[in-house]
Amino acid sequence: MLYAPAPLHIPDGFLNLVISLLFWVMTVIMVGLAISKTSQSLGGKQVPLMGIMAAFIFAAQMLNFPVAGGTSGHFLGGALAAIVLGPWAGILVMTSVIAVQGLLFQDGGLLAMGANIFNMGILTAVIGFGLYRTVIKANKGVRLAVAGIAAWLSTVTAALLTSLQLWLSGTSRLEIVLPAMIGVHVLIGLGEAVITVVALAFIEQARPDLLKTEKVAAYGGRGWIVAGIVVSLIVVLFSPLASSDPDGLERIAEDMGFLSLGLDAPYQVIPDYTVPFLGETALSTIVAGIVGALVLLGLMVLVGSMLRKRQTAK
């Protein structure tokens, strides 16, 4: 098969309007930042480079390898793109890839594209680059190991966020979709990790100049490290909890019920909007709260570090 749709691309119809628009807004902000960052720091050479790197990611996703029983592993590439090209260029590259997959192949919807870009392009860049950035000064073995962990985590994170979005849209029941999604992607992530590590080792061997410490450092600083670590920690703590013990999740939700107060408002946008299956509305808002807080935290750290840099530049 030439083009195998990846299981994370949400088609239209599976997310409701509110969730779709919410993620569109966050995606537009991040992509806007990425555009201003890349066009201010880089020359015209960058545009063909990113275009071809996007084609590379697209093509590399066709690389598969036999696993067992006729199935095969695939490659997603977000973490690799962010590590090699820097997080901002990585975001633009993944955005273009997901846009073309949605437009041309209907692999992922148009209205759901904001969420798809966020899950597979932005989060993977935050985690992939953020974690790798913490160890750029370490030796090769450590760096590759961390890159592998980052690749694995970014896959799992994308799956986690996808399940949450489906659940918040009232499309799936969390206690079913979450373990299923995470379970599958824990395995897919292993393939992703191996391919990312080996590809990085290859690049380092053949063109070490592309992965020089100073070069990676120039792509971004402390903000990414913090964001990468925070997001990763949340995922690491959250996903096993969520997938093995959905009741536990509910308990936490009840304990932290206060969070729901501030976040009820967006759901009133459409009057007849309901979150089905959830007599326990608190749970849905908690999760939305965690996701939202996480995203806001990331954004704040990033914007803060950018502002700081601008100031020191002046």
């Binding site: 806007g32 050479k45 071809i52 590379f56 093509a59 066709m62 191996v194």
Partner: protein
């Protein structure tokens, strides 16, 4: 090798092929939003939406079942929505108990599940129609006119062009691997999964470097032809009265869909 299969554009001379791509993009997006906000169980509106798809299929001379035959790409994802059938809201139809979970399909759940599938199925068909009657370069220009930042549209234009070059390259790499994936009688071949994943990682690394180095060449080619930082184009898209009226007509029809969905 030809990866022409990638090109979803279908050659034609219908009025829809000639319609300004901006109109097509905007109407498609409105239609998909319309599907998203139609209430669950608005069967009449869903039916009418499908009629619209069929009519467009017919007008664009693609053959009435063109999108239907291609509309099942999102089907695997339906698995994710199956759990909606067991929604705790609504009346349970039977009572199944699986491993302590009470899993009962409910009437509300079934309606919800059906609506999700219909929405997705209709939206996919709209997207298929869009790319079947619009050349991809025109689509990119439309997004430019709709104020998608030039840097993104330019990246996407490059992506589209090099998609074909690089996927051909991947196909050839895969071929090379297949050609040497041999076995001897009585010996287990293929070693283990990790080794195979590692080989694939090497292929990804190869492909990356070749792509990276090729981008240098292309930048040189652009410089050689006077590129100074921004792309210029001759393709002026001008909205005609026909474009405006067809756009307005579609908009009205989508409003009608919403009305039907909410009254019925």
């Amino acid at each position: 090798m030809h990866v022409d299969l990638f090109d979803r554009y279908s050659q034609g001379e219908s009025p829809l092929h000639r319609l300004d791509p901006r109109v097509k993009v905007v109407v498609t997006i409105l239609y998909i939003i319309s599907n998203a906000v139609l209430p669950d169980g608005a069967w009449a509106a869903f039916g009418l939406s499908w009629v619209l798809v069929l009519v467009v299929n017919w007008v664009s001379e693609l053959g009435i079942d063109y999108t239907f035959r291609r509309s099942f790409v999102a089907l695997p994802f339906a698995l994710a929505a199956v759990s909606a059938i067991f929604s705790p809201q609504g009346q349970p139809l039977t009572d199944w108990s699986v491993a302590g979970f009470s899993l009962a399909p409910t009437d509300f759940g079934l309606i919800r599940f059906g609506s999700i599938l219909l929405r997705s199925w209709l939206s996919v068909q709209a997207a298929i129609l869009l790319v079947a009657v619009t050349q991809f370069p025109d689509l990119i220009h439309a997004f430019e006119h709709l104020h998608v930042p030039a840097i993104l549209t330019t990246i996407i234009a490059f992506l589209y062009r090099y998609l074909f070059v690089l996927t051909d390259e991947v196909m050839r790499l895969l071929r090379a691997r297949t050609a040497r994936s041999a076995a001897l009688p009585g010996v287990k071949s293929g070693r283990n999964v990790v080794w195979r994943a590692k080989v694939t990682g090497n292929m990804a690394g190869q492909l990356f470097l070749r792509s990276y180095e090729r981008s240098d060449q292309i930048y040189n080619a652009m410089l050689a032809r006077g590129y100074q930082g921004q792309m210029r184009t001759l393709r002026a898209h001008i909205m005609t009265a026909f474009d405006w009226s067809l756009g307005a007509l579609s908009f009205l029809f989508i409003l009608l869909l919403q009305l039907v969905g909410r009254i019925a």
